[in-house]
Each structure stands twice: as structure tokens, then as C-alpha cells.
Symmetry: C2
Subunit: 312 residues, 2 copies
């Protein structure tokens, strides 16, 4: 059975003690710029610095006791790794993360800080290495986005947003593998059937855009070059179907627009977001006339970043 | 009559439609570092980017109609200027701000953006210039901190914090003129009589520290050299009395500690604070053993800053 609103509501109940109910911020500056009413769901202020904590905690808490005892395994170079390590720690579950040797040292430090084991591999051998770890150690593989419990968990951010501000006309979330956008679309179209759900995607990794345009899921861009390092992966199979069914629209943005949006959010809203999260404001700015008078939810996906891009 | 808890509660009612109820954030990182439970009241996410909106809105809304019609005047190089301009705009009141020619251009832009007039002067002639403007144009002078309605308004931040998290053992706020610390002390000692109220002050402008140590209000440091540009002014007369009566303790911190705290808050909590606000974490770090197991409220005063200090 695919994920629906009730699965997201159940996830929200399940994860509540272990994640933040993040604030929803408004900005008179950006409202004036776009002539709209913007509601920013601040997942940059979430545990482990990103929405990924929601799905990971839901996934681990959803495992039957016997499976929990075997531990969890994933591969990730980024926020999902830290999120699953965090989720495993709060549940007292063993966690092994396969990380590509290109992963930033700071991410490895975070993963180790939550008590997870790291197995290093070459970037192209992530799945093979995870399969080997599973064969040797046992445990449950928790995919970063192509898994129902993950999608339901990520949907809880939009659920909280709508609970707090009421109905919206438009909802925007970034899209990489599509777990966040998928969960967001499920919640939004259930609660506000007339609303438009928009995925924000860097031009440089536009496989979700091409997938929805063509109606055929496109492979991930092989050597992605974007500052939005949370959005490198290709759209997952489950999420492709969810986005198709809910008539989700993808808008792409170029690199300078992403950086400008992230910087403007820092300067005007006083919060640090990672460039991946900047895409949601950037896509609105591409068609400024389109949003006049509308109520728009935006999911700021995370805040794990250094400051190198600020100096550009 | 001096300011008391009921004056702060009345201010909270009065200003509610015009200011944000800012979020209270926690940080497992800083909790672990200090072995304490920290609650950060995020006034960097307030209207005009600082707690000053609270006092200014309360002051303007508290004016009788006849006085409102005459307009308001102040002198300020920083957040109070923008806050009073904002308060005047929402009340439809004329506002004139005397600004020293050393004020940053960005502050003048903000003040003009709210529709206020600016009269420029030399830094030493701020009060004289304001007096001349008052003689010429009439209106009410709204002092940035040595005024009851301002102190009551600033106290609403601590009131919201305590309403949200319950009693604390320690409350920390920065001290410049003392409006924020005074209002914070009034609220905290009324609600939690056993709590310790601490003012965070840069070593370079330690007049509040020396005032409370000596029992005699000390003059402002004449040529203050600190990155905490919100804390340059000397402690006000009303506020000195309030701090004395409530046994407030001042802890001073040096410049590198202020910068490190502001940077760490950005990196770990994903929020941008101005260096002045970094003082509250910096003072706790000076005596790390002292806070074990305690519940500590911290008022992050504002977020109006460029990024120059980040690159230090």
C-alpha cells in the first residue's frame, strides 16, 4: 500500500518526542518582493539540521522489535547518514553507514558522534558495499528516500506547516530523491486539493523535471555539478509515481539564483540554510508575477553548510 | 511609579498584533557543552531584527492621541532607530531620527524604508540635535532605554520565554543601556524569585559591571572599541536602579569569546545573531562548571549584522 495522509499522521505521532516542531517564519521583505504571503517551515532548525531526522526516526521506530535488534544500515554522504545515526541512537539500535570517500569530514564526525559505525567505499560502490555489510552483519537497509516510512516521515513537516498556518494555495519543497517532495505532495493535496505543489530543482540536476515532462523516470545526472549538495541524487521510483499522481510541477533554477536566495534568507530572515534549501525561494523568483496574493508554504529543507558560498 | 510585572504584561497585550512571538530554540550541542538546559529566545527573528521593536511599539502605542499627533523623535545609530520608525509607521505617527554621521548606511536605509525622516549630526551632538528638532517640530522624545514604556516593552521577551518553558534557574541578557536587561530582570525576579539574573557585557565597555560593583553608576566608556555594536551606550539611570534592586550580576567577556559564540550559534543552531547577542553564550562559557544541571534562559537580542566578523 502506498503512503497516504493517515500514514503521515501516524508518523507525526510516532516521531513527536524525538524531533523538533520547527518554527514557521514569515518575512515582510519577501512578502513585499513577491506580493504574496510566504510561510517558511524551518527544517534547518530541525534535529541534525535537516528534515531527514523525521523520516529516519519514523523508519527506525516503525521496525518490529526483532528487526531493530539486528540494526540498520544505509549509504549516504550527507544528512540522511547523520539522521539515521541519530534515529538509531535514540532507539538503542546499532547503525552502520556506508559513506563514499568523497563525503565531507564534518559529516563523518556527526555520524560518529551519534555512535554509528562508518564503512568507507568508493562513490560508485555505495550500494554494493551496503549489500556486503548487510550480508556480513545482517540488519535492515533503510533507503534514504525510496521507502514508505521515510516518505511518510518527511511529510510531517508539511503537515505541521498546514496545521499551523491553515490552507495554502501553493506548496514548494526541494527535490533530489523526492522523499521530501513526495511526502509534502501527499499531505498538501489531501488537505488542500486545489493547491499547486511545486518541486524546486537545480538546473544542473534536472532529472525530476525531465521525468515529469516526459512521463518516464529519467536516470540521475551522472556527474552532478551544483552547490545544492543535498539534491544530487536521482528521483526515486516511489516518489516519481507520487509526484505524477498529484500533478506536481518542477521548476528549475540556476546556480547564481540558488546562492542569491540562500544569502538573502540569511541576511533578511537571520537563519542559515544550506543552498539546497535556497531553491524554494529561487523558483518563486523565476516567475514573480505568478504568485500575487497567494498563500505559499515553503519547506526550508536544511541548514548544514559551511560558509564558502557566502563569499562568492 | 517604576516598571513592574503588570506593566510588562500590559505591554505584551498592547504590542501583540505588531511584533512576532519569536521562537524559543534549544541546542543539544550547547546543552552537552555546559551540562545545562538552555532556552534561547530568538529576538534576532523579531520585527526589524531585534528586541527593540518591542519597546518602541509599546512606547508609541502608550502615547495619548494628542501626543501621537505631534510625532516622535529619537537619536540612535542602530536598532532603536529602525524600531521606532517601524512603530511610528504602524501607528501612523510622524517619526524623526537623529543619526550620527558614523551610522552605517544600511541602518539609514532601513529607517527611511519605514518612512521616517533622518537628521544627521556629529556623534557628540546627538542629544543637542534631538533637542533642536523637538524645539522646531514638537513631538515626544523616545529615549532608547531610559524610559518606562521601553523597559516594559523589552521585558516582554523574557515574559514569553518563561510562559513557554516554565521557570528557570538563570536568565541571561546582554547589557548596553540596560533596557533589555532591566525589563528581563523585572519579569524574571517576579516569576522566579530564586533565579539569578545575569547581564552579559563586553569587557571593552564594562561600565555596567563597574557600576554594580561600586554601587555608583559609572559613565559610559568614551571611545568604546567592541564588535558588539549594540552595547556601546552607558547604563541608564532607571535601569541601574532596577538592576541594583534585583541583585543582577554582570559578567564580562572579551572580543574573541564574543565572536566565537556568535559563530558557534550560526554553525550549530543555524541562526544569525549579531555579535552583541553572542555575549550571552560567551558569559556562560567563562564559568562552565557553574551551570551544571540548571535551566537557563538566554535572550538573543538581535540579528542585524554583516558577515565581516565571520571571516576573522
Amino acid at each position: 500500500m502506498s503512503v497516504d495522509l493517515s500514514a503521515v499522521q501516524a508518523a507525526a505521532e510516532r516521531i513527536r518526542p524525538f524531533v523538533h516542531r520547527t518554527p514557521v517564519l514569515t518575512s515582510s521583505t519577501f512578502d513585499a518582493e513577491l506580493g504574496a504571503h510566504l510561510f517558511f517551515k524551518c527544517e534547518n532548525l530541525q534535529k541534525v539540521g535537516a528534515f531527514k531526522a523525521r523520516g529516519a526516526v519514523n523508519a527506525v521506530l516503525s521496525l518490529p522489535e526483532a528487526e531493530r535488534a539486528e540494526g540498520v544500515v544505509t549509504h549516504s554522504s550527507g544528512n540522511h547518514a547523520a539522521a539515521l545515526a541519530y534515529a538509531a541512537r535514540i532507539c538503542g539500535v546499532r547503525c552502520t553507514v556506508v559513506m563514499p570517500d568523497t563525503a565531507p569530514a564534518i559529516k563523518a564526525t556527526a555520524v560518529r558522534g551519534y555512535g554509528a559505525d562508518i564503512v568507507w567505499c568508493k562513490n560508485a560502490e555505495r550500494q554494493a558495499t551496503a549489500d556486503r555489510v548487510l550480508a556480513e552483519r545482517g540488519g535492515t537497509f533503510v533507503h534514504p528516500f525510496d521507502r514508505d516510512e521515510i516518505i511518510a516521515g518527511q511529510g510531517t513537516a508539511a503537515l505541521e506547516l498546514l496545521d499551523e498556518v491553515g490552507a495554502v494555495d501553493v506548496m514548494v519543497a526541494p527535490v533530489g530523491g523526492g522523499g521530501l517532495l513526495g511526502g509534502t505532495a501527499i499531505v498538501t493535496k489531501s488537505r488542500c486539493p486545489e493547491a499547486r505543489v511545486i518541486g524546486a530543482e537545480p538546473e544542473a540536476v534536472d532529472d525530476a523535471y525531465r521525468s515529469l515532462q516526459s512521463g518516464v523516470r529519467q536516470p540521475a545526472v551522472p556527474t552532478p555539478q551544483t552547490i545544492a549538495d543535498g539534491l544530487l541524487t536521482g528521483l526515486g521510483e516511489r516518489n516519481f509515481a507520487i509526484l505524477q499522481e498529484r500533478d506536481v510541477e518542477i521548476i528549475t533554477v540556476d546556480e547564481p539564483a540558488i546562492v542569491a536566495a540562500a544569502r538573502d534568507v540569511l541576511e533578511r530572515m537571520k537563519i542559515l540554510i544550506e543552498p539546497s534549501a535556497g531553491t524554494v525561494l529561487a523558483v518563486l523568483r523565476r516567475e514573480p508575477e505568478r504568485w500575487r496574493g497567494l498563500r505559499i508554504g515553503l519547506v526550508l529543507s536544511g541548514g548544514n553548510t559551511d560558509f564558502a558560498w557566502l563569499e562568492r
